[in-house]
Amino acid sequence: LSVTEAEPRTESHSEPQPRPAKRRRMPDWLAGNLLLLPTSIWFFFLMIIPIAIIVAYSLGQRSIYDPVRFSWGHLVWSNYSKALNPDFLPIFIRSIVYAGVATFLCVLLGFPLAYWIARFSGRYRTVLIVLVIIPFLTSYLIRMYAWQFILQPNGLLNSALGNLGLGSNHQFLNTHFAVILGLTYGFLPFMVLPLYASIERMDTSLVEASYDLGHGKASTLFRVTIPTVSPGLVAGILLVFIPAVGDFITPALLGGVKTQMFGTVVADQFESSQNWPLGSAMSILLTGFILIGVFVYLWRVGEEAL
């Protein structure tokens, strides 16, 4: 996007003439901001303004005629304390625990898999990584539905257990197990892919050096391998935890009243409960929790980790 003066084209293939660079270039800040203009306008109207409205509504109150009313003169802060009262705080904590356990399980399942693909899978490596990308890009809803199909009361798991003589009347849906299983299953590829990328880039001579210097297997794993691939690990943890903690589909399909997550409760306030100020306060708390968590994490491990 620079503006150059018309220069005569040299047709001959003789000695290249050193040309004085006489260019009137558009300054970087102007070119950059011009290119960013559409995105800025878009994000301003469809992200910043909507968030600002939610912030405003979280300080409003509802009336009989209106799901929400906001006025500068009358800011209602109690929506925030209501959002974390004993009715809702356990659900908030439950979401964090579910997402945390699912993230941990994803590391446990994903790390050895990524390590094996990156190091030992030889010429099948591309195929194996594509096999992780396929579930990554197929519908999350449908993959959760597949588990609903398997876990339902007259589903496959119950009939399989029945055939083994272990009883076929187990309740799987609407349990902690089902929701954590769903989250783990749903987000596992998000863990494997970044881990694979950083294990593949890792210098294997570091591991050799560690053995030569007398470190054992466990010590090498925890003090050499894992720290070296930590950028991928951090990315994986963020990519699993963030969507898991606000998830809406998994608790809807595999959970029930006992296993509600915060995303469901937030949505409820805008639908059946029609309490927009409370729902807005919950939205801000959930988003704020995620943003603070991400920034603290990035600050601790360094921004290059992303």
């Binding site: 503006v3 040299t10 970087d28 800040w29 070119a31 950059g32 901001n33 290119l35 960013l36 559409p38 995105t39 800025s40 878009w42 994000f43 469809l46 303004i49 909507p50 409205i53 939610i54 399942l109 050895p112 898999l113 094996w116 693909i117 030992f120 194996l128 096999l131 992780v132 396929i134 579930p135 890009l137 197929t138 519908s139 999350y140 809803l141 449908i142 539905y145 597949a146 609903q148 199909f149 398997i150 339902q152 496959l156 299953y185 590829p189 591991v207 391998t225 963030i242 969507p243 606000g246 809406f248 589909i249 995303g263 937030v266 949505a267 805008f270 927009w276 939205s283 988003t287 991400v294």
Partner: protein
């Protein structure tokens, strides 16, 4: 030096097989049972393809499929264009406020879907007074697709060799020529990858569509989500199989394309520039 790792290949292979089974068994089960004759339950009563023709004759499914395609195509095109421009700005120019833009992209990525959906619902309903319909769904989809395009295209452009542009300038190309003949062909695989990712994500979105759609703008995932209130059924299995197949075809096209452009490597320049 013998290489003895705590992660020994022998155990790792077993682990890998189990994880792959975990990843694919549920999908396989879903597909297999879309060919089950029984109307309900998961008892296998015989092979049948009868659920598939029924889908084609269901006007609701057809309308939802049309809506899904309209939304995904429009959202992908708009998001790819403005996201690519942003990615160019962020990689090729140095200016103040760049990190602020990156932060915006980042926030749009980490914002919980529920919150984004609700905030857009509130915007459309209370502030802009746009009736919920296909237009609102498209606006919402563009919003969350932009970030994915920016990230993918930026990753591609950051490996871009600036000396190629300087070479083009030295050889007498105008900046516009250099852009269309050098920059764009080299960035094309990234742009197409970004577009495919945006398309796939738009195609599969449930949560944000759920909050921004109105009567007549139901998409396929939303239709499935709604049907699930009535419990599992073989026709939902069949519809899911169809959606999976559709994504798989897209993925294959994307994969073949990236394989081809990887093989051609920088040869892409020779073929397309300064002819």
């Amino acid at each position: 030096v013998s290489r003895k790792s705590a992660l020994r290949p022998r155990y790792l292979i077993v682990h890998a097989i189990l994880v792959y089974a975990f990843l694919f068994l549920p999908i396989v089960v879903l597909v297999v049972f879309s060919f089950n004759r029984a109307r309900s339950g998961t008892d296998w009563t015989g092979f049948s393809t009868k659920w598939y023709p029924k889908l084609i004759h269901n006007p609701e499914v057809l309308a939802a499929f049309r809506n899904t395609l309209k939304v995904a195509f429009t959202a992908t095109i708009v998001a790819t264009i403005i996201g690519t421009l942003a990615a160019f700005a962020l990689t090729r120019f140095k200016f103040r406020g760049r990190s602020a833009y990156s932060t915006l992209v980042f926030i749009s990525l980490v914002m919980p879907e529920v919150v984004m959906g609700i905030s857009l619902l509130v915007l459309f309903q209370r502030i802009a007074h746009i009736r919920a319909g296909l237009e609102t769904v498209i606006l919402a989809h563009i919003t969350f697709c932009i970030a994915f395009v920016v990230i993918v295209v930026r990753a591609r452009l950051s490996r871009f060799d600036n000396s190629l542009i300087e070479a083009a300038n030295d050889l007498g190309a105008t900046p516009v020529q250099a852009f269309f003949r050098i920059v764009l062909p080299l960035a094309a695989p990234g742009i197409i990858a970004g577009a495919l990712l945006a398309f796939t994500i738009s195609l599969d979105d449930v949560v944000i569509t759920y909050f921004t759609s109105g009567p007549g703008s139901t998409t396929l995932p939303l239709y499935i989500f709604g049907e699930l209130h009535f419990g599992v059924s073989p026709s939902i299995n069949a519809l899911s199989t169809f959606v999976l197949l559709f994504s798989l075809i897209l993925l294959t096209i994307g994969g073949l394309y990236s394989l081809r452009s990887a093989r051609r490597g920088t040869g892409a320049i020779d073929a397309t520039t300064l002819g």
